[in-house]
Symmetry: C2
């Protein structure tokens, strides 16, 4: 079993039983592969007699996107598993528990969360998640603070930076978020009606400079251990519970990249409301809820991050007068910039979001797409001048009123 | 021989003969330990019959500074050796050639440069080095550019970042440069007549904020492979040749840290001229020479770095309009800030410079020390507002005229 090969369903049962003590010894196990087969095998292994279950996730040695297939390191399974363990340590209860890791098989056996829904789908179905802003701001504040030089011994952090070198998955981000959307790249994919919008994007040199600067931060600013792919498809949710999954893109980068991923995906959903909330009053409500979520996430994040800093700052220098304000101002600016970059790539780049792509009427879809581009590009262009989350909200608000 | 132990002189001869083919097989070898015994053994191994020679440098498992001794990783020998090889690749002829590396014995066998002098000593003795600005700007521009995301494939760079994780030696810098000088720390060491100046330093909250920001860059901004300790004691020189030695502090950090180290040490020497150039006219000449060196180093560095960028920029994004100017402006600001930090620590921190410490008359020494503090603190405070190297020069000029 120990040499790498994609597991069969019966092998998944075998590892689930032999490598964990989740199941009672009696009682048959059932396995069902529930992954989309693009990157990973995901086996749901359960014991009908007891109702117990778990997930066996195995990385595949390739990625398939839109028909293409390219080799992809199995080391991402180790990274995902180690990231989950660190996230659980600093933000307990907000990630699936890891029961077992096998780096040779590129395998993580973990808590089954199938009583949750993927947040993107939940939002599309009109779900309200009153606990989300609280939970995600906890997750962000705690994982980012405690893996940064502010909250972790600086030498211990350097060893973690080394262990989370993740060149292959970072390359995907560098290409698909910071490069291809701003040029006529083969990987781009967008509706024909967006051709002129794309041309504008590709010719916008003010925008390109800001994207180059954001990319430089992604490449060099080893601020904290990021999740690295924190969109609403990486969040399992119920009204009472939030679980962050799939940190295979984890590496040490700029904090604002993770915060921005969350805000961007809420704003992409916001931009799609003409379809998902056809009733004008309901749409207004829905938009207010989403904007309020964006605001609360930042405001809660900031206050929690500051509280952690005051209470758990690792050294004398963290207490330097003015340093915290300087740091948070830069972090807000990064957040706003990365929010924008994460929106733009979902409209013209390779990977889209269901919130928008599933809008059937082309005219309505086009409005959502243009609104996303409008908000995204403005956020990118204004990030370095921003001083308050209200400026991000104003941009989203006023764009949607045009 | 392969288990680590400090070599004897006869073992140094043995490794020099068996691990390199520098010497002719006949002809006795002579070994002389010429290190200061604080961090490393340095054996000069020569063959009198042929005039051939080389250096066997071995790391010791401890550091001794001012009587104290603490354990220090032998891995720094690997780092030094790998850094020398990379520097030779990108800046050929400006570092000693590495003949052999043995990580187990923490050993580097390399080119003998004893026909050069240590630049700090050369400057103290009144040496002029007409080729220095050209050589050091070459070294800086080439090593920094080609190990950054601008000049090196970004995925290859990430693997190098991992290999140059250097927590123990970075810790020395973090403590001795960015922390201890700004607080009444046990490791600090300064003349009694500087007590009031030190008190001022420790109470200067504007300064402390800027130092905290510079430290954050040192901790997180993995911009390029730095030498990490590029003072004039790490430079072997003659009027015709420059060789950069001792990169055991190498790691991926902010480029301005290396450039600032060079400028700071020239300015510390500048601040000591009342003693070393007692004749007023000669002193004026000497100061002009030093200031002109500072200016030329930056100006040449900038033009070479921009030329490398234009010619060897690794990707489309490097060519984004405005990006190079943005990058160079930040780099100048970092350089000015780190120059200041490198000056202040040499006056009140643990490790001093001979340029100043060897001034026998306390009043003259005190003037040099206060001038260094004056220039250093101003550079730190003004770094983020700077737009030209002339602003650094004005600060040095006007401080020395008071």
């Amino acid at each position: 079993m120990s040499t790498y090969h994609p597991l069969t369903e019966s092998e998944a049962i075998q590892v689930a039983r032999s490598l964990t003590n989740i199941f009672e010894s009696e009682g048959e196990l059932v396995s069902r592969e529930i992954g989309d087969g693009n990157l990973n095998l995901v086996f749901h292994v359960s014991q009908p007699s007891t109702g117990l279950s778990l997930i066996v996730k195995q990385a595949l040695p390739y990625a398939k996107v839109v028909g293409e297939s390219w080799p992809l390191t199995l080391d991402r399974a180790r990274i995902e598993s180690e990231a989950l363990i660190i996230e659980e340590r600093f933000a307990p209860g907000l990630v699936p528990k890891v029961y077992h890791t096998d780096n040779e098989l590129a395998l993580t056996i973990m808590e089954d969360l199938s009583n949750h829904v993927i947040m993107r789908q939940g939002l599309i179905e009109g779900g309200f998640y009153p606990k989300f802003a609280e939970d995600i701001s906890d997750f962000l504040a705690r994982t980012l603070f405690f893996t940064s030089d502010l909250g972790m011994n600086q030498q211990e952090k350097k060893l973690l930076v080394r262990s989370f070198a993740n060149p292959e998955l970072c390359k995907i981000t560098e290409d698909l978020i910071f490069d291809h959307p701003y040029v006529d790249a083969d990987t781009n994919s967008f509706d024909a009606h967006l051709r002129e919008d794309a041309n504008k994007l590709w010719a916008d040199s003010e925008l390109h400079l800001e994207v180059a600067i954001l990319r430089e931060k992604f490449l060099t600013h080893a601020q904290a251990l990021l999740h690295g792919d924190l969109h609403t498809g990486s969040i399992f949710i119920t009204p009472e519970s939030t679980k962050i999954i799939d940190p295979e893109f984890a590496y040490f980068g700029p904090m604002g990249f993770d915060i921005g991923a969350v805000l961007a995906n809420l704003l992409l959903h916001y931009a799609s409301q003409e379809h998902w909330s056809p009733n004008a009053t309901a749409r207004d409500e829905r938009r207010k809820y989403l904007i309020q979520s964006v605001r609360e996430i930042w405001v809660l994040f900031e206050s929690k991050f500051r509280a952690l800093w005051d209470e758990h700052g690792i050294d004398r220098i963290a207490k330097t007068a003015g340093y915290q304000d300087y740091y948070l101002r830069n972090l807000l600016q990064d957040t706003i910039g990365f929010t924008g970059a994460k929106m733009v790539r979902r409209i013209v780049g390779l990977a889209h979001v269901a919130d928008i792509d599933r809008i059937p009427e082309p005219a309505v879809r086009a409005k959502a797409q243009r609104l996303s581009l409008e908000i995204g590009t403005k956020l990118i262009k204004r990030n370095r001048q921003s001083t308050s989350i209200e400026q991000l909200i104003d941009i989203a608000d006023s764009a949607s009123k045009v």
